[in-house]
């Protein structure tokens, strides 16, 4: 099986990085917000808004990208016999890490995917964020080296593994029952932004289709932005990093060709230039991702292949995104939120407590 999986090879992961880059560029030029062709945390935040979990009216849209990423991975896992219902490895810890990661990432304004897209668009604040992300992952790696573990997962009833893809299908059904009405802020039970980032989106089916392809390829290749840095720090392996770097180069090239590149700190799309909190928030997010074992994108793919621990992390991100807007911790394009700094520090402290209390002796 290993020999047959082209996507597990070096060429395969680079190919997938290029494909995700092209997909992100296409989505951005089809209407998604600037340097946000695809952003897992931002789009889970918009989804939380669409469902009314928070009421920040500029970030409410049931993003089909999230649904597509889950379903694409589900299809790949079923097709290649990798779908396996599993879970039970410290679920409440994984949920909490998802909440913390989302709150912290929304101080920076982006998950690792968007950090790379922002840098490829010339946004130097993203460089600060990525250094923070790598630093947070580096801290997490130190705990893994000392025996940190959230414990073993078990095989679960088959239906458990199907629940997360099923939730994705239900969200899709909700959209078709209550599609966007031009100029209206609500359609049935769903909220829609009439202005701001939530109102900027590629056509629904294009977003869904591209995300399904990306989800499929990412499941096959195990693409993970957190793993890209972690494997360098932990094992000195650059395999996953090559995929992430290919994504960066593809988007950079696309932006240079199509005029999406603007170098600098100020006036970047949906970004603020607060260096200290761009760094510290992504450090907290990176620490949380590493303790949870995957970036938010990879958590969606794992959830799609039956891993309910990853699904719980993803639902933690959804809840954390809602908290971020309800509690005014999320940043705006001008500055960090009223309580963004406090939330970042509290999240960091909780990550340290989780890390120290899950070191297993003799592991």
């Amino acid at each position: 099986m290993f020999k047959n999986n082209f996507f597990a090879s070096t060429a395969g992961i680079i190919f997938v990085g290029i494909c995700i880059g092209i997909g992100a560029l296409f989505l951005q030029f089809s209407g998604n917000p600037g340097n946000m062709g695809i952003c897992v945390v931002c789009f889970e935040r918009d989804t939380a808004g669409a469902l009314g979990f928070h009421r920040a009216d500029i970030v409410q849209y049931l993003r089909p990208e999230i649904i597509g990423l889950i379903l694409g991975s589900f299809f790949a896992a079923k097709l290649f016999g990798e779908f396996k219902s599993r879970g039970g490895s410290s679920p409440i810890v994984r949920f909490s890490l998802g909440v913390i990661a989302a709150i912290a990432a929304l101080v920076f304004l982006g998950c690792p995917w968007r950090a790379v897209l922002r840098l490829a668009g010339g946004d130097l604040n993203a460089l600060v964020g990525l250094v923070g992300l790598a630093s947070g992952i580096f801290i997490g790696v130190q705990f893994f080296k000392r025996g940190y573990s959230l414990g073993k997962a078990n095989t679960q009833s088959a239906f458990t593994g199907y629940l997360f893809p099923l939730i994705a299908c239900l969200l899709l059904a909700l959209y078709f029952l209550f599609p966007q009405i031009e100029g209206e802020a609500k359609s049935g039970v769903l909220f829609y932004s009439t202005g701001g980032p939530g109102s900027m989106h590629a056509p629904f089916l294009i977003s869904l289709g591209i995300a399904i392809v990306i989800g499929f390829l990412a499941q096959r290749s195990r693409f993970c932005t957190m793993g890209a840095f972690r494997d360098i720090f932990l094992f000195k392996y650059s395999h996953l990093f090559l995929g992430l770097f290919a994504l960066f180069l593809t988007v950079l090239l696309g932006n240079l060709i199509f005029g999406g590149f603007k170098l600098g700190f100020e006036g970047q799309p949906i970004a603020h230039p607060d260096t200290l909190w761009n760094f510290l928030s992504m450090l907290t997010a990176g620490f949380a991702f590493s303790l949870a074992g995957a970036c938010p994108g990879r958590q969606l793919f794992l959830g799609g292949e039956g891993d309910s621990d990853a699904a719980i992390f993803a639902i933690g991100v959804l809840v954390g995104a809602a908290i971020a807007h309800n509690f005014m911790t999320a940043s705006s394009a001008v500055a960090i939120g009223t309580y963004g700094a406090q939330a970042t520090i509290i999240g960091l402290v909780i990550c340290f407590v989780i890390a120290f209390t899950h070191i297993k002796k003799g592991a």
Binding site: M1, K152, A153, T155, R222
Partner: protein, 80 residues
């Protein structure tokens, strides 16, 4: 050198490879690893080959009651 057996079933990334990795850097001549997912199988096989080990992968049936490592899907036999 005694053969070493590592049960990495139930663990998620990066723990299966982390448990194996220190052995890969040492001159052990035989290492047997049980994993329960394809990604861990790929990761360990890739790392072992990188460090000059030969890798033999056997698929095992996780539902077979005689499977002594609960839920294991792959047995990796690493030799150097």
């Amino acid at each position: 050198m005694n053969p070493i057996i590592i049960d990495a079933t139930g663990l998620s990334c990066p723990e299966p490879l982390l448990r194996v990795h220190s052995y890969l850097l040492e001159p052990h001549n035989s290492l047997t690893v049980y994993v329960d997912n394809v990604a861990s199988n790929e990761n360990i096989a890739r790392a072992a080959r990188k460090h000059g080990w030969s890798v033999k992968v056997t698929e095992i049936d996780p539902s077979n009651p005689s499977n002594e490592y609960k839920n294991a899907m792959f047995k990796l036999e690493l030799t150097k």
